[in-house]
């Protein structure tokens, strides 16, 4: 990134950020009746160099450390703030872009501006140059971290892993007969694969297969699991259940052959397309089933 670009990033942020996002919301204020002498503690204890003067909720002026020092030199410590405050107040609106504030600081050379709400003119905060710098740095830092996180999670995932072999295994446990939650695991799998930066077409094939397998586990068995084994060159998906098993696998593979109960059909499933659909999504497909023991389906989708 060259210097010119760096400037433009900051400028962009200065247009994007609003005064209200970087201002201090807790404002120390004084009343016009406070004595100048009171200012010493207020400014010192709060480590501030000026404060708005508020009368019955209304902003009436602003008084600074400079004003205080002048009074100190002139021996005018026992007079009310109202006599020494600046009455022509320059304010900023909280919904103004930060760039307006920066320009105003440059033009007027003030140390701070009270910030008011546009709707009712009420004091909502105060802003100094320090707040602007802090706000910009914080936003830059956040963006940097977001960028880092994206870089880590997206398609570079495997490239960043230094190993002779690397794989990610995601396992989802499926509860049988819980039709309400059926599909939830495939939905979660889809989200995770998206985060890993896998190509959308691959995700689609994989999650359609996983969804059909999940539906079969939910409809016909008491429990099962779906395991996805992701490698740089291929993704293997296994759907494993603990029974009852398919008596005639060849017959079950026929599109339209179904043993599903009516209530499942009414839900739009169990029309005997599931296994055929899974096979259609796969580059390699295998099924193994034993009655009384369970069924294991395995598919592979090539990534290269």
């Amino acid at each position: 990134m060259d210097a010119k670009e760096k400037i433009s990033v900051i400028q962009e942020l200065a247009y994007e950020l609003k005064v209200g996002e970087v201002m201090k919301k807790e404002v120390i204020t004084v009343s016009p009746n406070n004595l100048i002498a009171d200012l010493r503690e207020i400014l010192r204890d709060n480590r501030i160099s000026g404060t708005p003067v508020v009368d019955k909720g209304k902003l009436v002026g602003i008084i600074s450390l400079e004003d205080f020092i002048k009074c100190l030199l002139d021996g005018e410590m026992e007079i009310p703030v109202s006599q020494k405050m600046t009455q022509s107040i320059q304010t900023l609106y909280e919904d103004e872009p930060l760039i307006h504030a920066i320009n105003k600081f440059e033009k007027l050379n003030y140390g701070r501006f009270p910030v008011v709400a546009r709707e009712n003119g009420k004091l909502v905060g105060i802003i100094t140059k320090g707040d602007i710098i802090h706000g910009l740095l914080q936003r830059l830092e956040n963006e940097y971290y977001e960028e880092e996180i994206k870089r880590l999670r997206a398609s570079h995932f495997f490239e960043d892993i230094i190993a002779d072999e690397s794989r990610i295994i995601l396992q989802y446990n499926i509860v049988g007969n819980d039709f309400k939650r059926a599909g939830e695991s495939s939905s979660r799998l889809k989200k995770t694969l998206t985060r890993l930066g896998i190509r959308p077409q691959v995700i689609r094939r994989l999650t359609i297969a996983s969804y059909e397998a999940e539906m079969n586990i939910v409809i016909f068995t008491s429990q099962g699991k779906i395991i996805t084994n992701i490698q740089p060159s291929q993704i293997k998906l296994s759907a494993i259940d603990s029974g009852p098993g398919i008596p005639d696998v060849e017959q079950a593979m026929q599109p339209g052959f179904s043993t599903a109960p009516d209530w499942i059909r009414e839900m739009g499933f169990g029309a005997g397309m599931g296994l055929a659909n899974i096979k259609k999504c796969a580059d390699e497909f295998s099924i193994n089933s034993k009655v009384g023991q369970g069924t294991q389906i395995e598919i592979i989708i090539n990534l290269e």
Binding site: K180, S187, Q201, I208, Y211, M267, G268, A271, G274
Partner: protein, 118 residues
């Protein structure tokens, strides 16, 4: 075709928030069999169906469909609507039956899934 436009054509009501009206669909598919949807549809399609259970939303999500329109005036249960909102899938209801809904959209130029190359 924008959802806004097909809502007009089908005289449909939107069940999710109106920001969905600006979403664009490339094609449509009419089916009551979710395995058929999973098997034959392509991404960015509209699903027309008479089924209203939450598996319809899951199916649409898994196959990257953009929106769902329920035909024959069938309103889905709250859990279906909630899931659709969570997944950002706009839902519509039309009083027209399936055949007429598909016919109207096709007549206005919205193609079927077999006509579009993915």
């Amino acid at each position: 075709m924008k959802i806004r436009e097909l809502k007009e054509i089908l005289e449909a009501e939107i069940l999710t928030d109106t920001s969905g009206l600006e979403i664009e669909v490339k094609m449509a598919c009419g089916a009551d069999l979710m395995s058929d949807v999973l098997s034959f549809t392509k991404a960015r399609a509209l699903l027309l169906t008479g089924l209203t259970n939450s598996q319809v939303i899951r199916t649409a999500e898994i196959s990257d469909m953009k929106a769902i329109c329920f035909v024959r005036g069938k309103k889905p249960p709250t859990e279906t609507i909630d899931l659709a909102k969570e997944k950002n899938i706009p839902l519509l209801v039309t009083n027209l039956p399936m055949y007429e809904s598909c016919g109207r959209l096709y007549q206005k130029g919205l193609p079927g899934c077999s006509e579009i190359e993915e």
